[in-house]
Symmetry: C2
Subunit: 797 residues, 2 copies
C-alpha cells in the first residue's frame, strides 16, 4: 500500500518560489535512498516508500482522491523535505571575526543595551496589540449581543424567535466569513493559534512567512472576527504568535514587506539573534494573554530554548513584564480606572478570595481523579480533532471551501447555542450583584434570567469567569452537563478551521463546566457539607485538567494558571492535576499541538534522541556523498551546483582541492548557499586561480542586508566569461565547523546538534576527510513508535 502524501494548509498556497524558502533538499530519488532497509537488528519498523510527486497539485484534485479511496494519507509517518532549518550557529568566518575583534568593550556594552531596548519595545508593542484586540472584540461583541438581545426580547412575547436565531446566525457567519476570507486568501499561515508554528520556529525549523508583518495583520484581524463571530475560540493563543512576529520585526530594525530600513539593530540580522528575540516575543504574548510574565518565560523555555542562558532569560522576563504592564496600563485607562493595575491579562480568572481557596488533604485524590478525567477527555478531543484534520487535509483544501466550512461552523454554533437556551428552563433570580452583562430573560419570570444563556450568550472569557465565581446554585447540573457536551464538540470542530483562533479558552470553558458539575454532584452526594460548598474551586481544577489534557504542558501551564488566578494556594493541586492529565493523556495520544506538527510532517527535533538508538552511528545516519567546493572554486561549478534543483543543498563543506578520482578531501571549512548567493550577486570573482589580485572585499553588512530573504540562484545572471572566473571562499567560509567522527552514536550526534542548534554537522573520517553531512532531517527521521525505533519517510509534501 503506497502512502499518499498531501499538502497541508500552513504554507501550501501562496508559496513564492522566489523566496528561497521551502526549497527541497533532496529529490524523490534521493528520498528513496533514505529508506534503505535495516536488515541487521530487526528493530526497525520499515514502511515502504511511496514515490511522491514533486508537483502534487494534481493529486489534490478531488477526482484523484476519489479514485483511490482506500489510501489514507498517513502524514504523521512522513517527514517533509520542504522545511529548511534555521542557522543558530554563527558562521565564524574571517569577516565576522574581524568585526568582533574590532569591536571594543563599550561596543559590546552598547549591543547589550540595545538588546534590552529591543526587548522592551517587543513587550510594549505586544501589550498594545493585545490591548487593541481586547477593546475591539469587546465592542464588536457588545454591539452584537445588544442587537440580538433586543431582538430576542422583542420576539419572546410576540413569538417568532426563529427570526432571532437567523439574525444571530447571520451576524456570526458574517464576522467569521470576514475572518476566514482574510486568512484563507491572504495568509493561510495565520490560521489557528500559531502555537505549533512558533514551537517549530523555536525548535529551529524555518516555517515560511511565519514571522512576517502581513501574517501579523491577518492574525489580528482574523482573531477579532472569529471571537466576535461567536466561535468556540479564544483570543489568547494568537497573542503568542503576534508577540513572535513583533519580535522578529522589531529586532531587525526594518520591514522587508514595507521596504523600510531604519538602519538600526543591523547586528541582530541573523538567525541566532533573531531566535532569542522571538522567544522573548512569544513570552511577551503569553504574558499579555494571561497576565502571566513568569509563565511566559517558562513557556518560551519549555517550548523553545535548548541552551538556557541567564542573561537571555532576564531579557525575556523583561519583555514579559513590559507586555503585561503595557496592557494593564492602557486597559486601566480604557476602563476609566487609570493606574489600577490589578487585571494584568486578556483573560482574568477573577480574584479567588483567600477564604474560599482552602482545600484539604482528602480532596487531593479527588483532584487527581479530575486530572485523569481531564486526560481522558483531552485525549478524546485530540483524537477527534486528528481525524477531522486528516479529513480537512484531504477534502477541504481550497480557500473557498475553507471559508464555507468556517461559516457553517459559525452558523451551527449560533444554532446550538440558541437551541440550548431555548430548551433550557433553568431560571435563576437576577441578584443585585449581577455580573452578567447580557442577562436574557426569555421565558423566565420577571426578575429572573436564563442560566444557560449566561454560558452561551457571552464571550467565552466571561463564561469562564462566571463558572469560577458565580455563587453556589447559579447553574443546575443538567444545564452544565448539556453545555459541556455541546461545547466539547463545537470546540473540537472549530479547532483547525481556517480562522485565527486559540484553543486555550474553549478548553478552559469545557473543563470549568464539567468541573463545576463535578463539584455540584459531590456536594449533593455528601449532603452539602460545608467544605464542598464552593463549586468554583472544582471549576478551576476541571479547567486546568481539561486544558492540560489537550495541550499537555505542565510546568509553564501551572505557572500560567497560578498567575491568572492570582493566588498560589492552588499551585499544588493544579500541578498534580496537570501531571495526571498529561500521564493519562499521553497513554492514548500526543498533545494537540504535537499532533498538528506531526501532520505537517515538520522535521521537529525532540529533546533527546530515541532511547534505543544507540545502535545507529553517524555513518548510517548521514547523507553521502557530499558535494564539496574547493577553497578556490570555479564560478561556473558553483552556479551549476546551486542551480541543480534535484540536489538543493544548503551547506557545502570546503576542501583544499577536490581531486579527480573523487576521493574525499580534508575538511577546511563550511559555506552556506546563502553566502554563495551573496558572493555571486556581488560578483566577487578573480580572473585566474592563482591571481594575486585582491577580490572585491565584501562587508558583513552585505550579507546582513540580504538576510533573511536571499534571492534565488535563478535571479542572478552570470555571464559565460564570468563562469570561467574563480572565487576564493577562504574569507567567507566558516573555517571551524563542528565535526563528528563516523563512529559516533546517534544520541551523541543528536546531543551535539540539538544543544548547539546546528544546521549542518560534518562527518569526518580518522584523517579529517569529509565523508558525510548530517542535517536536521537525518536526525528527525528516527522516532520511537509503538514497535520500537521507527524511521519516517522523507517526501516532498
Amino acid at each position: 500500500m503506497a502512502n499518499v502524501s498531501k499538502k497541508v494548509s500552513w504554507s501550501s498556497r501562496d508559496e513564492d518560489p522566489a523566496q528561497g524558502e521551502g526549497t527541497p533538499l533532496l529529490n524523490g530519488a534521493n528520498a528513496a535512498r533514505y529508506t534503505r532497509q535495516f536488515s541487521g537488528s530487526g528493530i526497525f519498523h520499515i514502511g515502504r516508500l511511496s514515490t511522491v510527486d514533486l508537483e502534487e497539485e494534481n493529486v489534490e484534485e478531488e477526482g484523484s482522491i476519489l479514485s483511490r479511496p482506500k489510501e489514507i494519507p498517513h502524514n504523521e509517518k512522513l517527514l517533509s523535505l520542504k522545511y529548511e532549518s534555521l542557522d543558530y550557529d554563527n558562521s565564524e568566518n574571517q569577516l565576522f571575526l574581524e568585526e568582533e575583534r574590532r569591536m571594543s568593550y563599550m561596543g559590546f556594552r552598547c549591543l547589550e543595551i540595545s538588546r534590552w531596548v529591543v526587548c522592551g519595545l517587543i513587550g510594549f508593542l505586544t501589550g498594545l496589540i493585545a490591548c487593541f484586540i481586547d477593546i475591539v472584540v469587546e465592542n464588536l461583541a457588545g454591539v452584537k449581543y445588544h442587537v440580538v438581545k433586543q431582538n430576542i426580547e422583542k420576539f419572546t412575547e410576540v413569538g417568532g424567535l426563529s427570526i432571532s436565531l437567523i439574525l444571530w446566525a447571520v451576524l456570526n457567519s458574517a464576522f467569521v466569513m470576514v475572518g476566514s476570507i482574510i486568512v484563507a486568501f491572504f495568509e493561510p499561515i495565520a490560521a489557528g493559534s500559531g502555537i505549533p508554528q512558533i514551537k517549530c520556529y523555536l525548535n529551529g525549523v524555518k516555517i515560511p512567512r511565519v514571522v512576517r508583518l502581513k501574517t501579523l495583520v491577518v492574525k489580528v484581524g482574523g482573531v477579532i472576527c472569529s471571537v466576535a463571530g461567536g466561535l468556540a475560540v479564544g483570543k489568547e493563543g494568537p497573542m503568542i504568535h503576534s508577540g513572535a512576529v513583533v519580535a522578529a520585526g522589531v529586532s531587525q530594525g526594518r520591514s522587508t514587506s514595507l521596504k523600510k530600513d531604519f538602519k538600526i539593530f543591523e547586528y541582530f540580522r541573523r538567525d541566532t539573534e533573531k531566535r532569542d528575540f522571538v522567544s522573548a516575543g512569544a513570552a511577551a504574548g503569553v504574558s499579555a494573554a494571561f497576565g502571566a510574565p513568569v509563565g511566559g518565560v517558562l513557556f518560551s523555555l519549555e517550548e523553545g530554548a535548548s541552551f538556557w542562558n541567564q542573561m537571555l532569560t532576564w531579557r525575556i522576563f523583561f519583555a514579559s513584564m513590559m507586555s503585561t504592564f503595557t496592557l494593564n496600563f492602557f486597559l486601566s485607562i480604557y476602563h476609566e480606572k487609570p493606574g489600577d493595575l490589578s487585571s494584568p491579562g486578556l483573560i482574568n480568572f477573577g480574584r479567588f478570595d483567600s477564604d474560599s481557596v482552602e482545600y484539604n488533604l482528602y480532596e487531593i485524590p479527588l483532584f487527581i481523579c479530575m486530572g485523569a478525567i481531564g486526560g481522558l477527555l483531552g485525549a478524546l478531543f485530540n483524537v477527534l480533532n486528528y481525524w477531522l484534520t486528516i479529513f480537512r487535509i484531504r477534502y477541504i483544501h481550497r480557500p473557498c471551501l475553507q471559508v464555507m466550512e468556517a461559516m457553517l461552523v459559525a452558523a451551527v454554533t449560533a444554532t446550538v447555542s440558541f437551541a440550548m437556551i431555548y430548551f433550557s428552563n433553568d431560571c435563576q433570580p437576577l441578584g443585585p450583584d449581577q455580573s452578567e452583562e447580557y442577562p436574557l430573560q426569555l421565558f423566565c419570570a420577571d426578575g429572573e434570567y436564563n442560566s444557560m444563556a449566561t454560558a452561551f450568550f457571552n464571550t467565552p472569557e466571561r463564561s469562564v469567569r462566571s463558572l469560577f465565581h458565580n455563587p453556589q446554585g447559579t447553574y443546575n447540573p443538567l444545564t452544565l452537563g448539556v453545555f459541556t457536551l455541546s461545547y466539547f464538540f463545537l470546540a473540537c470542530w472549530t479547532y483547525g478551521l481556517t480562522v485565527s483562533a486559540g484553543v486555550f479558552i474553549p478548553s478552559l470553558l469545557i473543563g470549568a463546566a464539567w468541573g463545576r458539575l463535578f463539584g455540584i454532584l459531590l456536594s449533593t452526594i455528601t449532603s452539602g457539607g460545608s467544605i464542598w460548598a464552593d463549586p468554583g474551586k472544582y471549576a478551576l481544577i476541571g479547567a486546568a485538567a481539561q486544558l492540560g489534557g489537550i495541550v499537555r504542558m505542565t510546568l509553564s501551564l501551572t505557572v500560567i494558571m497560578v498567575e491568572a488566578t492570582g493566588n498560589v494556594t492552588y499551585g499544588l493541586p493544579i500541578m498534580l492535576v496537570l501531571m495526571t492529565a498529561k500521564i493519562v493523556g499521553d497513554y492514548f495520544v500526543g498533545g494537540l499541538y504535537d499532533i498538528h506538527i506531526k501532520l505537517q510532517s515538520v522535521p521537529f527535533l525532540d529533546w533527546e534522541a530515541p532511547a534505543t538508538s544507540h545502535s545507529l552511528t553517524a555513518r548510517e545516519v548521514m547523507s553521502s556523498p557530499v558535494t564539496c567546493f574547493n577553497r578556490i572554486e570555479k564560478v561556473g561549478r558553483i552556479v551549476d551546483i546551486l542551480s541543480n534543483t534535484s540536489t538543493n543543498h544548503n551547506g557545502f563543506p570546503v576542501v583544499p582541492r577536490v581531486n579527480e578520482n573523487n576521493e574525499p578531501g580534508r575538511l577546511c571549512g563550511l559555506i552556506l548557499r546563502s553566502q554563495l548567493i551573496v558572493l555571486l550577486k556581488h560578483k566577487v570573482f578573480v580572473e585566474r586561480a592563482h591571481s594575486r589580485l585582491k577580490q572585491r572585499r565584501l562587508q558583513l553588512k552585505d550579507f546582513r542586508d540580504a538576510y533573511p530573504r536571499f534571492p534565488p540562484i535563478q535571479s542572478i545572471h552570470v555571464s559565460q566569461d564570468e563562469r570561467e572566473c574563480m572565487m576564493d571562499l577562504t574569507d567567507f567560509m566558516n573555517p571551524t565547523p563542528y565535526t563528528v567522527p563516523q563512529e559516533t552514536s546517534l544520541p551523541r550526534v543528536f546531543k551535539l546538534f540539538r544543544a548547539l542548534g546546528l544546521r549542518h554537522l560534518v562527518v569526518i573520517d580518522s584523517e579529517n576527510r569529509v565523508v558525510g553531512l548530517v542535517t536536521r532531517k537525518d536526525l528527525a527521521r528516527y522516532h520511537l513508535g509503538r514497535h520500537g525505533l521507527e524511521e519516517l519517510q522523507l517526501a516532498q509534501t
Copy 2:
C-alpha cells in the same frame, strides 16, 4: 609585588589525599606557562605570577603574614588548580554502547520510572529533613526564650537585669559553640549556606566532600544550633545544600560512608545522571524552605542547568512538589491541624489579604527607588563581607579560632539585642489578637509590651512576619531605624562564620525593617493618605530589594517571593525591585555568592565567554604538549604517567601509536584517569603487544562500583613483570571525543564546552592529529575585568 595565595576554609583541612579528589592538574612550573604575556593586542591586564608554595601551611603561620604586612591575598585574581571537573559527557566506549544496545525499550522505560521514583524519594526525604529542622529549632528556641523571658521578668522589678543578659548570652554562645565545633572540627565544608558550593557543583566543579552523608548530618546539626543560638541567620539556605546531599545519596542507591550498597540505581552511578538528581535535590530544598516549588525549579535552572531538558525539568518539578507537600503534611500533623496544607514552607510570609495588596501606578517609582536603595545597601553588605572574609582567610583559619569567633558573635548578638530592648521605650498595647509568642513587658505599663523586643526576642522568621503583617503603628520609626542598623552589621559579621547558616532570612529581615520604616515615613509626609496606610506592603518590597541587592538573583527570586507571599499581585513590583537592585548592585560589586566563589578561586564557568575574547583561539588557550597513550600501551608507561604528581592529568587522548620523534598522532579516542585506574586495579593486561589472547573483560559494573571514589594510583601495586605487559585500551576509551580545530575562536570553544558540560576537549590540526587539550581551567581563566580582558593566575591554593 608578588601575590600570596592562601588556603580557604572550604576544604582546606581534612583533605584526604586518598580520595583522588583535589589533585592538582599542573604544577607550579606549568602554571607559570599559563601567564605568558600577550604583547600584541595590549588588551590584557597581566598580573605578575607569584610562585606559589605547594605546601603553603608555613605561609599561613601568622608570623610570616606579619613579616609581609603589605601583601594582601588577592584570591579573587587566582584560579585554583585544586578543583577537578565533573564529567557530564558520557564516555561512550564499547562497554557503554554494548549495554545500551542490549537494553530493550522496556528497559529504558523502567529506567525512566526509576528516575521518577528517585525524584519522589528526594523530595520526600528533603521535606522530612526540613520538618525535622523546623520542629527542633522551634522547640529549642522556645525553651530558650521561655527561660530568658522568665528571668527577665523576675529581674525587671528587683533590678539586676545584667544577670538576664549574661544568661541570654551564655545560652546563645553554648548553642553556637556546639554548632560551630561540629562544623569546624568535623566537616568544614558544611559551613555557610552551601549555596555557593551547590552552584559550583551544578556548574561542573567537583567540590570535595560536598555531597557526603557526613556533610548532611553536620549541616543539619549546625543549622539547628546556630538558629537556636540566636545568630542573625536563617535555616532556609542550608536546606538547598541538604536537598542536594539527599539527592546525591538516594540516586546512587548506596552510601559509601556507611559502606552499604542496596544494589539499586546502579545505572545512575556517573556524573551525568548524578548531576540531574542533584539539581532536583537543590530544587526540593528551595521548595521546602520557601514553599516555592516553581521557584525551586527556576533556582536549579538559573544556577545550574546549561542544557534545559523538558523531561528533566518535570522530574525536578516533581521532586519540588513532593518536598513541599511532605513538609506541609507533617507540619500540619505536628501543629494538630492534620490535612491543612496552607503553610507550605519553612518560612511563611503569612497571607497578604487581597484587600491590602492593591498598589497603584504612581507607587511604582517609589518601588524602583526602594530597589535602588536595596542595591546600594546590598553592595555595602557585600563589600563589608568581602573584607571580612579576606580577614578571616588570613587570620582566622584555625578551627579553635573559628569556634571562638562564632561564640563571640553569638554573645555580641545577645548583648546588642539586649541593649536595644533595654534602651528602647517603644511600648505598644497588647492587643487581643496578639501574634507575638514571647511579648516582653519590661518597663512598659501593664497591658503593654516592648515593641523592639518583638524584633529581637524572636526567631528571625517570626520577626519578618511581624514586620509584614502587624497593623499600622506597631513600631515607631526610631525603633525600626536602630534595628535596621544594628541587624545589618550583625548579619554581615555573621555570614561567613564557621557555622551552618543562611543569609536569606537576615536579608529579608533587614529589608523588611527599612522597608517598613520607608512606608511609615511616607505616610507621615503625605499626612497619612489612605493608600499609604499599609506599611506591611513596603516591608515586603524592602525585603525583596535587600535580598536582591545581596544575592542578585532575579527570576527565581521573584517566583520564590511570590510563592512565599501566596499572592501574585505583587509579582510586577517585586520583579522591578529585584531588577533595579541587581543593576545598581552590580555596578559596585558582584553578588555575595559570587564573591565567595571567587575568593575560593574556583574555576567557575560563566554563561558565555567574555565578549571581547574573539581574538583568542583554541591554539592560544589549550594546554600542550599533551600526554597521549597508544591504543595498545605498555602498563609501565601508564603507571609512570599516572604516578607523576607534577603532571596530574585526568584525561589522555589515545592515538594509534606514538612515534619516536614525538610527532602528534591521529586522535582515535580519549581515556580518563579513573578508567585507567580501574583497569590497572583489575589487571586487564596481555603479555605481548600483538597477542590474540582476549583480555579479561571488564563490565561497566566494575567502573560503577568504583565511582565516585576511585582509588589513587599509589594504592595499586603493579609488579615489575606486569609493567612489561600491554594494555589494550580500545574497548574502554571513548572513541568519539568532541574535538575542535586549532583556529576555533575562544567563544566557540566555550560554547561547545559549556553547552555539553565537557571536561576535556581535544584540539586537533587539519589532519586530525592531537595538538592540545582544553580543560575547564583553560577557559575559566579569562574574564572581563575593569581593564578589558584579564587572565587569572593558576595556582595551587
